[in-house]
Symmetry: C2
Subunit: 588 residues, 2 copies
């Protein structure tokens, strides 16, 4: 039994595989066909975005999907090449090799393999919490900026010119220089594709509905838009031999099974790629888990984040061993998979078979596919990721979150994806520390007729002339220890008649060693001024730990369970009076 449960945890396929039947098979097959049709142009296009030969995109869409189907916990996640991870791959690999060389391909394989090991390691040691350091504003800013960079980086293919760079300025610069040499036919193909694909997103489905198709069918057929564009463009190029007019085409794609690749172990290359592999792992995981959890919640299924790490790790290792590049769960394809009725991860495995057939049979047909069409596919896909709405909401709700999002966007655009993401994470952590380093402090008094104590500035409360009660609304730790110390000193200095200071601690969730030292110092200083320091409403876990320190021995005052108890003991007269007063309506 124990073995069975363990294997169920690490091999989720065992649990859903047992109940597999004809009905689920049909649903999964239908979903797989639709996702395959969507994935063929996407995988070619994203490989192009990563600076890799298009066939690498196909390879990355075969074995990785099967690996995820075995180890992943999401029933509807569609794994494979995605835009943001492709961009991160390009940024990392182009640092150490030139696009188009064998070294570039090798580096991409290594990146996939390393990223796989990192994800697997994090999954086994349950380190998924690291992904929590990416706040929503940072993720959303990062994706928005990446989408803008990706769209602009594809503009060269629409114009039929050379270009490069990994920041907004660099890309725009090379683009402007190359602009005069644009190819008119390429530009025409690109523009028509763009217009068609944008129209497909908005107008195709309503049109099909008007022709009397069911909502479900119309939705599915609308998804074939990119494939229609691909077919039309191939025919146009092949018939009019536009490739002889300077239209860049995909060219010869090797036909056959994905190769078995063993990335070489060169310590320098591995070390150089390590930071990027880590970033790709985290970004890929965050993107994937968000989609997986959203979709799972809709069907009341559950996702195990640690096992997801294992599933994505296995997928990336598979990518590294079979000529692919880093993969993760993509948003758009997963939603399509879900909508098309996928019931189990088998749908992913069937998609892999579809792509395998395509790479065995269809590759000769893709010879004349113009690069401009692939670029248009990418641009249309990523522009839907630009999210400025969240920016507005953050501005209204929290300036710190707005700042984190804005800086992530600006730094990504100005300095590239890696710097942008790191700047965003660093800033959001610093802003959080800054916020907690200036804790909200309330001087509190008793709400008449109750045992509640509230902020003197917000409520009509009774205070004692001899007892000062302060409530620090924050855990006490190194970043605010000094501020707490000086705030107490300041308040005491302003009230010469004070004999007791009570620190009310319902919002103090822990006290670290730095804050403990500050408190001990405060006890000493107040003592020499003839003032006792008391604590009230200390939380259980905090109290447990204080018992292991010197503070309780050195404390001149007492620890009270409730603030009311403290006041009854330290100033019974004022408290009894307040107890008997009429309770105001607002204090409940």
């Amino acid at each position: 039994m124990r073995f069975l449960r363990l294997s169920d945890r690490y091999l989720p396929i065992l649990s859903w595989g047992r109940d597999y039947n004809r009905a689920t098979l049909t649903s999964d097959l239908v979903a797989a066909v639709i996702v395959t049709i969507m994935l063929i142009p996407q995988s070619l296009a994203y490989a192009l975005l990563a600076g890799l030969p298009p066939v690498v995109g196909l390879y990355a869409s075969i074995l990785p999907l099967i690996a995820y189907a075995i180890f992943g916990t999401s029933r509807t996640l569609a794994v494979g090449p995605v835009a943001v991870v492709s961009l991160l791959t390009a940024a990392a690999v182009s640092e150490i090799a030139a696009s188009g060389t064998a070294d570039y391909l090798t580096a991409a394989l290594i990146l996939a393999l390393m990223s796989g090991f990192i994800l697997l390691f994090m999954g086994i040691f349950r380190l998924g919490f690291v992904a929590n350091l990416l706040s929503h504003p940072v993720i959303s800013g990062f994706i928005t900026a990446s989408a803008i960079i990706i769209a602009l980086s594809q503009a060269k293919h629409i114009l039929g010119v050379e270009g490069g760079g990994d920041s907004l300025v660099a890309i725009a610069g090379t683009l402007l220089t190359a602009l005069p040499g644009f190819n008119a036919i390429t530009l025409a193909i690109g523009t028509v594709s763009l217009l068609f694909l944008f129209w497909v997103r908005r107008g195709f489905k309503p049109l099909l509905l008007r022709f009397g198709l069911s909502d479900f069918l119309a939705g599915l057929i609308a998804r074939t838009g990119p494939v229609l564009a691909v077919i039309a463009a191939i025919l146009a190029v092949a018939i009019f031999r536009l490739d002889h007019q300077g239209v860049a085409i995909v060219g010869k794609i090797p036909q056959g099974l994905p190769p078995f690749t063993v990335p070489i172990f060169d310590q320098d290359i591995w070390l150089a790629l390590l930071p990027a592999a880590f970033l790709i792992s985290i970004v890929g995981f965050v993107e994937s888990i968000s989609v997986a959890q959203t979709l799972a919640a809709k069907r009341r299924q559950s996702i195990d984040p640690d096992q997801e790490l294992v599933g994505l790790g296995a997928a990336n290792i598979a990518a590294g061993l079979t000529g692919g590049y880093p993969v993760t769960g993509g948003f758009a394809r997963s939603v399509v998979n879900f909508d098309a009725g996928a019931q189990t991860p088998a749908a992913g495995a069937f998609t892999a078979v579809g792509i395998l057939l395509a790479s065995l049979l269809l590759t000769p047909l893709l010879h004349f596919l113009p690069i401009a069409v692939l670029a248009a596919t990418i641009i249309v896909a990523v522009l839907s990721l630009v999210d400025l709405e969240t920016m507005k909401e953050n501005w209204a709700y929290s300036k710190a979150d707005f700042a984190a999002m804005a800086i992530t966007i600006l730094a990504t655009l100005a300095f590239g994806v890696e710097t942008g993401l790191i700047a965003g994470v660093a800033l959001s952590i610093l802003l959080y520390l800054y916020q907690t380093s200036r804790p909200h402090v309330a001087i509190v008094g008793q709400v008449p007729g109750t045992e509640h104590f509230r902020n003197v500035d917000r409520h009509d409360v009774v205070t004692s002339p001899h007892v000062l009660t302060m409530r620090f609304d924050e855990s006490l730790y190194f970043a605010n220890a000094r501020a707490v110390e000086s705030r107490i000193q300041k308040e005491v200095a302003e009230r010469p008649e004070i004999k007791h200071v009570v620190l009310q601690c319902p919002a103090v969730n822990f006290i670290d060693a730095s804050a403990l030292e500050s408190l001990e110092m405060t006890v000493q200083r107040l003592k020499s001024a003839g003032i006792d320091l008391h604590l009230s409403e200390v939380k259980g876990p905090v109290m447990d730990r204080l018992k292991r320190s010197h503070l309780l021995d050195e404390l001149t005052g007492r620890v009270f369970l409730t603030q009311h108890q403290a006041m009854r003991t330290l100033d019974p007269e004022t408290t009894l009076k307040a107890d008997k007063m009429v309770r105001p309506e607002i204090a409940g």
Copy 2:
């Protein structure tokens, strides 16, 4: 008036200068003489530690002290070269120039100047809070490890061999290689000095007391120990011409006023030194402000941290312009200054005059001073900084703080001061984020006969069968948003009879945009399961901000001022029963 107050803030000298009289003058003069006697050997020794000519130590002890006397707020802080900052200087400068070259000296000047500008900038823009990121365990670990490295780095001078390196392993390695070539006379001088100086620390004062001296006088004379060692060693070398026997001596020190130096502006060097200048500024500030606040508290004076930044900034700019190197307020000398009765910063200015006289008149006498004696001075001074007691206390109180301290020590010893400090800060921030990412969550119930609600696991409380109340003991933000979301889902899943969930928020000090999104998601999910989500005891500032979001519109439940009010509304029957029960003793 406004002008006066502003100038008082930026020029503290105006406020203490007004009341200056003969009594304070006498006290300040006495303290200055004693600190000068202590500072002469120390400034030479610390310059040596920084890899600089000894005279640079003297220059760093003249104008910087006057600058601090004008701009600083501490009345007793003794500014000048200190051990840890000297070590940081050596680590930074030796990266870009070889010790003994003119470039090395220039780099040290630039470092002082940059550090001065950084401190000044932080002071003017009130950015002193950055220093709060250094927790007590990290500071104490860093100083301990630095002291060990410093002591070991001086061993070569005691042995009379060559050596180098900036980590424990590197230093020990070069030392072991060079060991066979040790110089016997140097070793004898060094060992005798070490033994004498250790004895001075322990045995000199008791001896003087036994001779009938007053406690104060005995304490002061005991401070002259290092100077006595210096004099004895100079005489021994000069008389027996030990320098001809291979004993390294200070040699010719240029006599005269400190030079006026304008560090060249070379962008590459400035950029290369920037991170180090920042570290030195922060470390120097933290060391200085801790001493200043401790001493000020003893006399009920106050320290303005932002003005301290200005004071230290001015001191470092002065050091950079007059042939010095980075300075800060030192612990040992400040305590001596305080004990000797210094009343105002004028004592520092008088010390500067003392050092100026020394550099004008005494430098020829220092010619024969053996380096080994200076090394012994450093070793004895820094070994008193090794603090393993705190390590033990942290182990008992908090494993996270222990880990931060241990990693700081190990990383500093293994990889040098800069890496060590950064590793310590990064780890303590990560541990704090990790801690807050797994908030303590309590399911709470009503304490019978009261309006208090406590953890069901710790207290005997009454709960409702239809209402689940959870109390999250942490601010809700990006690092714990996902954990909070899934915890609520888990608890609800285990209780099918639940109709209402109340989040009691007395310990939630803020909710950021990521957590807000998680809460909105939770409201939607609970809604589709027929469960209402309520909030209770939301803090004023948190509520103010929630009013600017969509959450309150989307909330299926209500926001209650108190948890008791929530329960009276959602389950009046259970609550009324609990109200009438006998109040247990423990709950006050």
